[in-house]
Amino acid sequence: LISDNHLESLSPLLQYLISGLTNGAIYALIALGFSIIYNSTTIINFAQGEMVMLGALCAISLYHHVPSLPLAFIGGVAVVTLVGLLFERLALRPVRDQSPIVLIIITVGGAVFFEGVAMMIWGKEAYSLPPFTGNAPIHLFSATLLPQNLWVIGLGALLVLLLEAFFRFSLVGKAMRASSYNRQAARLVGIPVNRMVQLSFGLAAALGAAGGILVAPLTLGVYDMGAMLGLKGFSAAIFGGLGSILGGVLGGLIIGVAEALASGLISSGYRDAVAFLILLVVLFFRPQGLMGGRR
């Protein structure tokens, strides 16, 4: 009986942990997008959250035409990757050497623009995407989770591993890392640095879109979902150490779990403030983040 009581009191915690890790995985994917772009250009791309929104809505539209989830996933990611590549080419390459303030305004302008385009195409209503494998709840000890929770966490982890492998083992990945360490030296050994920068925007957009499509069955897709997700993903990137893959993942998961705990145990209204409170504390006491400062 005592152990039963124990489980009883643990069950909400486990529940918060699961929902926290699910959201955290999305934050982590967004954080990685921020870090990839920051590494290649030292730009903070405030349009990153809009890629999440575009990914979700594109996949939903594709699914309506061709009801196949894998196709919708791949198609959505492909469209948004293209958007990311074009955004770099048209809005950011012409102003490469401007001050951070100017670059911030341009990416914010981009975010406003994308949100406006989405509102025009999809309107203001929220759309749903069916879960990848049904809606039958799975019981884990005394908590319940949806198959989609597992998809988000599992596919999120897979994407992170693929990304790490890409940067570590592939020639293009190594070339991207070289360009971020030293642009001039990379150019000297024949790496097309401009193309690497553009690629980083494409890669970041693809990661964001994947996150959006993964979470769409749980949260619905709506034109204004991007801004808050983007800012939280950014907090995760700073928390983990801007530019670090492991840091971004840890930052995302910790912020996701902290948020879920805060909304469950304290008040759900202040849920959104948690990520930014963590951001402030980290900036004031350890501005390089958890994993920063090693490079």
Binding site: V108, A111, F113, E115, V117, M120, L280
Partner: protein
């Protein structure tokens, strides 16, 4: 008559305000002008911080909101006189800026931007959530109008007579501040903090001072805003508005007092003009924002002057001295 003397910008400003007061006869235009005046107040303050001292704030809407909500709550709920509530708003926003500024201003560049952004979002969430105090997302209504010596300032044209003279004084004050010892040390630390320190400038003190100072401008603007509209809601003080303020500074021109007026005017009027496009409004706003900044990163005035000089150089067959 010495005509040179009459070309003094302050005289022209006063003359312009007087002329507008006499020639405009429409409440809509007065309301728009009042909002431009309030936004200019905000932008001048932010420009002192961003343009002169080179310190970014992406959370300036929070100070605007703290000023507005402090006066709003004290007058609408507790029935305090607006003239007592206004200084209270200044105190609250100034104290918040002081407390946030001490740790935040140790950070540089993007990190300072993020700290102020985080602060701004937390404050805006607070405005939304502290319902019993702020009225939550549906806003706080019943904020009384100001009155001056028994003369109620309850219509847009009467408020115009308060807001624009106040703005004139603040602009004059700011222009003097820029030329003062503090102003010079701000410009010095903008270029190189180390160099400024080596010349004896207490840079962290100067940065904190100007941060609090610009928060006070924002709080003053917030109080005026609350008493102008008699109603405030959290959406007026969110992250997007902070970004809009930074954009006004850049479009008008960094480190330019009069540029602040231009930037605020252009970006306040533009959305009004764009309302004819209905749903296209935000797309066009986003596109204009990007295009202007991409092609004129130094702001409208400086940018157009640059383009004009570039053409002149080309005509004379010379090369354009790139800045």
């Amino acid at each position: 008559v010495n005509f040179r003397r009459l070309a003094n910008p302050w005289l022209l400003f006063a003359l312009g305000v007087g002329l507008i007061r006499l020639s405009v006869a429409n409440d809509y235009y007065f309301t728009l002008l009042n909002i431009i005046g309030i936004n200019t107040l905000l932008v001048v303050g932010l420009n002192l911080l961003l343009g002169y001292a080179g310190q970014i704030s992406l959370g300036h809407a929070a100070f605007f909101g703290l000023g507005a909500y402090t006066t709003g709550i004290l007058t609408a709920i507790y029935g305090l006189s607006p003239w007592l509530a206004l200084p209270a708003g200044l105190v609250v926003a100034g104290a918040a800026a002081f407390l946030v500024g001490i740790p935040a201003l140790k950070l540089k560049g993007y990190y300072l931007a993020m700290a102020t952004l985080g602060f701004g979002i937390i404050v805006s969430i607070f405005f939304n959530q502290a319902q019993e105090l702020t009225g939550g997302p549906s806003g706080l209504s019943g904020i009384p109008s100001l009155s001056l010596a028994g003369f109620p300032l309850d219509s847009p044209d009467r408020l115009f007579l308060l807001i624009w003279p106040v703005l004139g004084v603040i602009l004059l004050l700011s222009a003097n501040l820029v030329d003062s010892r503090l102003g010079r040390s701000l410009r010095a630390l903008h270029d190189s903090e180390a160099a400024a320190q080596s010349l004896g400038v207490n840079t962290s003190r100067a940065k904190l001072l100007i941060f609090v100072w610009s928060a006070l401008y924002a709080a003053l603007a917030g109080s005026l805003y609350a008493h102008t509209l008699n109603f405030i809601a959290p959406t007026s003080f969110n992250f997007m508005f902070s970004i809009k303020l930074v954009t006004m500074v850049v479009v008008g021109g960094m480190a330019s007092i009069w540029g602040s007026l231009l930037g605020a005017a252009v970006l306040t009027i533009l959305p009004e003009l764009l309302t004819v496009f209905h749903d296209f409004e935000i797309i066009i706003f986003g596109a204009i924002l990007m295009v202007v900044i991409i092609f004129l990163p130094r702001g409208l005035v400086r940018g157009i002057l640059d383009l004009w000089e570039y053409r002149r150089y080309k005509k004379e067959g010379g090369t354009f001295p790139v800045a």
